[in-house]
Amino acid sequence: MTLAGDILQITALSLLVAGTSTLVATLIAVPIGTVLGLREVGSARLLRNILFTLYGLPPVLAGLLVFLLLSRAGPLGPLRLLYTPLGMVIAQVVIVTPIILGITMSVVSTVERRVKDTAFVLGADRYQLSITVLREAAAGVLTAIMVGFGRAISEVGAVFIVGGHIEGQTQVLTTTIITDVAQAEYGHAVALGVILLLLAAVIYSLLYRIQERTLP
């Protein structure tokens, strides 16, 4: 494969893994975060504290846990997901979900009480009330997704352990930068670093535009 083809493949896989894990984490975290954010009860507070702790979960530890789950002797070993992009997605979902969930829960719980009361007096049922609150919190939820994607695209430890950095199969931008530096391929590492930065800039500007539109 040519150098350009090689870089293109690594970049595409980085986007695919980070994008898929952010999407899956969003689908899990936003509904749960909304429900928990609407309930100011003791159990929700306890869960919030646990989530805040998980914000600081070291990616290598998450990677190790997923590695043990997916390894041959692990409970999910028969699925043969270790050293595959899907395995990398699972590892990143573990890292990103608590972040999106925690921020969603916080922004939903800070939506004015009057929003809930207004929807209630206008005849909303429980589901319609949740959707209304989520709509009011849309800008904050989008921020949660942006933070989650940022964590996923820049993450290196977990994808290295679970993906194994196999050439042509599980190489992503961050793991390639690490190995390039180890092999004194500084020029290649810097080029990949610039690509990573540009990708982040393009994606964030797109999300920012969406966020601007959701603001009043």
Partner: protein, 242 residues
């Protein structure tokens, strides 16, 4: 819709805000509840609209108490509309806000658009349909909130100091809209106000609420011209300092 409130008590911590309210409001009337700030007027309305649960007492709607099952309870809630003093408008434009109640009742698109446009037109807001709620003036926002409450044609309309702090033009428009809604639908209206002039202009009957208790209930002429209770007289004549 008729409303029968019996022995209603509501406290916040050690503070008893409603101390045994008894009221009967007939279908189709405009009933004003007057009283100074802190008398319990808003608390009473919030109990009627299920936003607060009283400790004791009951509220009967058309002779029936609140159903225990969620579906009939929502059906009852949807027969009641409310406009607050400082209404909250949802993110979006004026038309979105007005159509909210129709959306959640699954009203189909052509009817939804027609009724939203009619409601905005009735409040003189047609040209502001696409305007974002966040840039509306206080008077415009209150007109949108009123249109949002009545577009679903509630049988009972609760108005909580709904024109407080508005200029005379907006007060005029909104009071006209209340009269028209009451006349055209036969809906019952409960108006909470500390503005005795507004109570006199709009209501058929008035109750004075002081310190969580109903002091006197009467038809407008009798209440204002020949009050029985000295506290009502003091309130009506402006001698009552609050």
């Amino acid at each position: 819709m008729s409303l029968e409130v019996s022995g209603l008590v509501k406290s916040f911590g050690a503070r008893e805000v409603l101390r045994g309210i008894d009221l009967r409001i007939e279908p189709g009337e405009i009933f004003a509840i007057a009283g100074p700030s802190g008398a319990g007027k808003t608390t009473l309305l919030r109990c009627v609209d299920f936003l607060l649960r009283p400790e004791t007492g009951s509220i009967r709607y058309d002779g029936a108490t609140t159903p225990a099952e969620p579906a009939p309870a929502i059906a009852l809630r949807r027969r009641i509309g409310m406009v607050a003093q400082n209404p909250l408008l949802f993110r979006g434009n004026a038309a979105y806000n007005v159509s909210f109640g129709l959306c959640i009742r699954d009203v189909d698109e052509p009817e939804l658009s027609r009724r939203t446009a009619d409601a905005l037109k009735a409040l003189g807001m047609s040209d502001l349909a696409a305007t974002r709620a966040s840039v509306l003036s206080a008077g415009e926002a209150q007109r949108v909130a009123f249109a949002r409450a009545v577009v679903v044609r509630p049988d009972l309309l609760l108005l909580d100091e709904f024109t407080a702090n508005l200029d005379p033009t907006n007060v005029n428009i909104l009071e006209g809209a209340v009269r028209e809604y009451n006349r055209s639908t036969g809906a019952t209206v409960i108006l909470v106000t500390h503005n005795m002039f507004q109570a006199k202009r709009l209501a058929n009957r008035v109750a004075l609420l002081l310190e969580g208790r109903i002091v006197e209930v009467g038809a407008v002429p009798e209440f204002f011209e020949n009050p029985k209770d000295p506290r009502t007289r003091a309130f009506v004549t402006g001698e009552y300092a609050y």
